[in-house]
């Protein structure tokens, strides 16, 4: 069964019960992606599949055969951080760091949704595709990622600086 994970083609057999999260962590040792609640409530396991953010804990890995999966390890490395990772450091967007890979993958996926004009629960006009990443839009769109340290203010600032540098706070 083939997957493309962080631009690398991987061929392996697996138990159909295995979640995409467990495949990443337990079989491929890509431990950047975290297991929080394991039931889709916290967002720590967020990865990108063909550019779209999903909860890898709720995903059976077999369903994603042939897909391109990007984890935090594929977005940046210690020597070459993603610009959003740099912004998280700059704005104290984390304390313990456990939710951070999920926050970052989720924000990258969210930025794509904004670019495509996907509306949210706080979008006023459904006829427009031009959505400003305002404070309210950002908080609504990131509500699937929890931070129990309470670093949300720094997280919001980091995401806004990276994806909407001109938006009003």
């Amino acid at each position: 069964m083939k997957f493309t994970i962080n631009d690398e083609v991987i061929d392996l057999t697996l138990d159909p019960r295995m979640s995409l999260l467990d495949l990443l962590r337990e079989r491929l040792h890509l431990t950047g992606t975290k297991k929080g609640c394991d039931q889709g409530a916290c967002g720590a396991c967020t990865v990108l599949v063909d550019g779209e953010r999903i909860n890898s804990c709720l995903a059976l890995a077999v369903q994603y055969e042939g897909c391109a999966i990007t984890t935090i390890e594929g977005l940046g490395t210690a020597g070459d951080l993603h610009e959003l990772q740099r912004a998280f450091i700059e704005h104290d967007g984390f304390q313990c760091g456990y939710c951070t890979p999920g926050q970052i993958c989720s924000a990258v996926g969210m930025a794509g949704e904004i670019r495509r004009g996907v509306p949210s629960a706080v979008t006023g006009d459904l006829e427009t595709d031009a959505i400003d990443l305002s404070h309210d839009e950002l908080r609504e769109r990131m509500s699937g990622n929890l931070c129990r340290c309470g670093a949300h203010n720094g997280i919001v600032q980091a995401i806004q600086e990276t994806f909407a540098p001109k938006a009003k706070p």
């Binding site: 159909p16 019960r17 979640s19 394991d38 039931q39 889709g40 967002g43 967020t46 779209e52 953010r53 999903i54 909860n55 709720l58 995903a59 059976l60 077999v62 369903q63 055969e65 989720s106 996926g109 969210m110 949704e113 495509r116 004009g117 996907v118 509306p119 949210s120 629960a121 979008t123 459904l126 006829e127 908080r139 609504e140 769109r141 990131m142 509500s143 699937g144 990622n145």
Partner: protein, 330 residues
């Protein structure tokens, strides 16, 4: 999680063949509910037929209708320009539910067939007639703040959790099915059953029957529609009360057309036909909206913790209808 056989279907006919008429086979969409239930030991299918790669098409037709492929993702439906223009309540309902990640995974049919989030259904140490027919119900005397005030029975008061389905109920959606006995279509309102004495039997689907598409019939009033959701926190929470409403007011100030459905309060997505009957042809005023709400909630039954939903539902109906009617302030 119990072992199961996994197979991916290329089309509906293959899916039905792979399911083989087995009662313990399940179709798998995005997995956001079913995988969780399997991990919790509530669902234990022996065969999973992956139907997530069936039709994703969202087809806008010239007659004003839209056909949603059963495997279309919730995000794709919400973002579709024609859905936003013709049926804004559906977009609003979908984006009011779950999180961005889950909406990217969840399919149209999977959303419709998701199970209740009643805590006693999820807790295998509790009694639950939906999980184990005849076992009893611990919600009745337990923590039932989130439970239904409409459509309940002595056996079950679990709510249907979907937001999207509330819009589908209001829009008179039609569900296209295929199964071992062939194809058929049923009104969305007939898809989900009231619990009665058998809360474990939740839908009209026969063994092996598969939802292949959902049709949104043309409805001029739906262009002027919305969805209002009231919940304990402002995002990523299930509804205490939600309202899908479409309202068309004539030049004479009277209600020319209306569709109304309620979420968070019913054991199934709750079409408010009694309220619609009061509204249709009546003056579009706050008094009329309140009267319609009173009539719809007249049969409501509150338990120890959820009685507040009765007044909350009435007020949310009035407020939501007023928001579609610029002359009426609440």
């Amino acid at each position: 999680m119990n072992p199961f056989d996994y197979a991916r279907a290329g089309d509906a006919a293959e899916a039905i063949r792979l399911a083989g008429g087995r009662a313990d086979a399940k179709y798998l969409g995005g997995g956001t509910n079913l995988v969780d239930l399997m991990r919790e030991g509530i669902e234990h299918p022996t065969h999973l037929i992956d139907v997530s790669r069936l039709s994703h098409e969202i087809a806008a037709r010239d007659d004003g209708s839209v056909l949603l492929g059963a495997a279309a993702k919730n995000t794709a439906v919400a973002a579709d320009p024609v859905v936003r223009e013709r049926f804004p309540m559906l977009t609003r309902a979908i984006v009011a539910g779950a999180s961005g990640q889950i909406r990217n995974m969840a399919t149209v049919a999977g959303n419709m067939l998701q199970r209740t989030r009643c805590l006693y259904f999820y807790d295998d140490a509790a009694r639950c007639n939906k999980r184990t027919p005849g076992a009893g119900c611990d919600a009745m005397e337990g923590f039932n703040r989130f439970h239904a005030i409409l459509g309940g029975s002595d056996a079950c008061v679990a709510t249907h959790p979907s937001d999207m389905c509330v819009a589908l109920a209001a829009l008179d959606a039609v569900v296209h099915l295929q199964g071992p006995q062939g194809a058929r279509s049923i009104p969305f309102a007939e898809l989900h059953r009231l619990p009665g004495g058998r809360p474990d039997v939740e839908t009209e689907l026969g063994t092996g029957e598969l939802i292949v598409a959902v049709e949104l019939p043309p409805l001029a009033a739906a262009r002027h529609s919305t969805y209002r959701k009231v919940r304990d926190r402002s995002s990523y929470a299930f509804a205490l009360v939600s309202i899908a409403a479409a309202l068309e007011v004539g030049a004479d100030g009277k209600v020319a057309d209306v569709r109304l459905a309620l979420g968070g309060v019913g054991t199934k997505p709750w079409r408010a036909l009694a309220a619609e009957a009061v509204l249709r042809g009546a003056a579009a005023t706050e008094e009329t909206f309140r009267k319609a709400a009173e009539v719809e909630l007249q049969p409501a039954v509150g338990l120890s913790d959820n009685g507040f939903k009765i007044e909350l539902a009435k007020r949310t109906i009035v407020h939501t209808l007023a928001s579609l009617c610029p002359g009426v302030r609440t």
